[in-house]
């Protein structure tokens, strides 16, 4: 019976076996990269909104406090998105001719709510609560980034489980004074002594049990 494969095929066979290992590793690495890329995590991606609402204008320039609009952030799990009436507090008098604000005026006149596009959304099998983070001295900027510089809202963090746990394992790296929680200008890491003093003062525990977030 004639030889089917030339002897040089032995080398090619060995190389391809070794190569397969590398190719597999490369594919896995690529997948991991893709999963962490903005394409999947939406970090830094702005969404189309019915009104180009700018936190940079309203928070950075005008100096409004988060709670003027996100009224329930201190005492509920949900921060809340303001109703159209809140916009009309000012825009009934300001920029009444602006085309950008036409959807707001329409919504107020007809009672049809504005449909904002969600930027942050953890899966439904995760329990998240704003109020406890606010009361334990975790500032909005620690999780939402420099909101006062965002012309349109984007996601600053991945919202991956690893991200939650990085802080839950070592809250002392993120904690700040309760009085500065809403202050977007303050995003510093306290020195260890001051941070640990706050951790004691606010009775902050390191919560990493699965049932903290998956209940």
């Amino acid at each position: 019976m004639p030889q089917i494969f030339h002897p040089s095929m032995n080398t090619i066979a060995r190389v391809s076996i070794f190569g397969a290992v590398f190719i597999l590793t490369a594919i896995i690495a690529l997948l991991l990269l893709v999963v962490r890329s903005p394409y999947v995590t939406d970090v830094g991606v702005v969404r189309e909104q019915p009104v180009p609402f700018s936190h940079k204008h309203h928070v950075g320039d005008v100096g409004l406090d988060c709670r003027y609009c996100h009224t329930s952030v201190e005492d509920s799990s949900f921060a809340g998105i303001p109703p159209t009436k809140t916009c009309m507090n000012c825009h009934s008098q300001l920029f009444t001719e602006s085309a950008m604000l036409q959807p707001v005026r329409d919504s107020f006149a007809t009672g049809q709510p504005l449909h904002w596009t969600r930027v942050h959304d953890v899966p439904d099998f995760v329990y998240f609560d704003h109020s406890i983070h606010i009361h334990k001295g975790i500032g909005c900027v620690k999780c939402h980034g420099p909101v006062n510089e965002m012309p349109l809202m984007w996601r600053e963090q991945t919202l991956h489980m690893k991200w939650c746990l990085d802080c839950h394992r070592q809250p002392e790296l993120f904690v700040g004074d309760r009085a500065n929680v809403f202050n977007t200008a303050i995003d510093v890491q306290l020195d260890p002594v001051a941070a640990n003093a706050l951790v004691d003062k606010y009775h902050i525990q390191s919560k990493t049990d699965c049932y903290t977030c998956h209940r």
């Binding site: 005008v62 949900f78 998105i81 000012c90 008098q93 009672g111 709510p113 099998f125």
Partner: protein, 252 residues
């Protein structure tokens, strides 16, 4: 793999064999089947099964069939899952009997006396239970602190942190409100400020939805403190503050 190898014995033994030839033929067919031909129809039907179950029974755990707060809904006409209250609804524990406290006026006349006790209770500054509780200086200071915080959140955008009426939004073109530091507003009863915050006033919007009643009252207390801060007699100051006065006057 092991299950596939083990199968032929079971299947073959179960076949009724009347004649040797046909039985051998059948056994051959069964062998071909158990040796791998089954994989094609089996895979196909598995695929179909998966597709069907994905179509009807599949549930995304990340987006479960319940509404989050403010989630969009196709069921209601305005597309909103969080339902607005039907007017006249009273939630448990939210019956507003104390009209002076909740409306700031009785029969159209603004309240004259500041309801310290009710405010302290609503803000949770007093221990529960006992009726005749003192609202001492310590509790009043806490109410003022709360009022200052809420004033800076909700009112300072227009009225400025000092109450001058030249806040940031006014600087961008909103009609300017009057300064709090006029004889008319200094003489106005506390109820007037509460009514303005609750119902709005002229071009000023109302804040009934954004600020709960106790916080509105706390703001009123702070507005009074602001008025006093710009209109105090030197003789009324405590000695420590009086001592600090000349030093400040010296600085340009």
């Amino acid at each position: 793999m092991f299950r596939v190898r083990a199968l032929p014995t079971i299947v073959a033994g179960a076949l009724p064999c009347a004649e040797r030839e046909t039985c051998a033929e059948r056994r051959d067919a069964v062998d071909a089947w158990t040796n791998g031909a089954w994989i094609v129809p089996a895979t196909l039907s598995l695929c179909v099964l998966l597709l069907v179950s994905a179509g009807c029974g599949y549930q995304d755990m990340a987006d479960q069939p319940h509404y989050e707060p403010l989630e969009a809904s196709e069921f209601f006409a305005e597309g909103q899952a969080s339902r607005p209250l039907i007017s006249g609804t009273v939630a448990r524990g939210h019956l507003r009997i104390d009209r002076a406290f909740f409306e700031g006026q009785v029969d159209g006349k603004p309240v004259e006396v500041y309801p310290w006790l009710a405010v302290a209770r609503q803000l949770g500054l007093l221990a529960d239970g006992a009726e005749s509780q003192e609202v001492d200086e310590h509790v009043r200071a806490q109410i003022l602190e709360r009022g200052q915080q809420r004033f800076n959140i909700f009112c300072s955008a227009c009225h400025d942190r000092t109450g001058s009426g030249q806040g940031m939004v006014v600087q961008r073109g909103f009609p300017a409100p009057p300064s709090y530091h006029s004889d008319r507003l200094r003489a106005a009863p506390v109820g007037h400020f509460y009514v303005v915050a609750t119902q709005g006033f002229g071009r000023m919007p109302d804040y009934a939805d954004q600020i709960p009643p106790a916080d509105r009252w706390a703001i009123v207390a702070y507005v009074r403190a602001l008025q006093l801060s710009q209109h105090a007699e030197v003789g009324e100051l405590p000695p420590a503050d009086r001592a600090a006065l000349p030093a400040e006057e010296d600085t340009p």
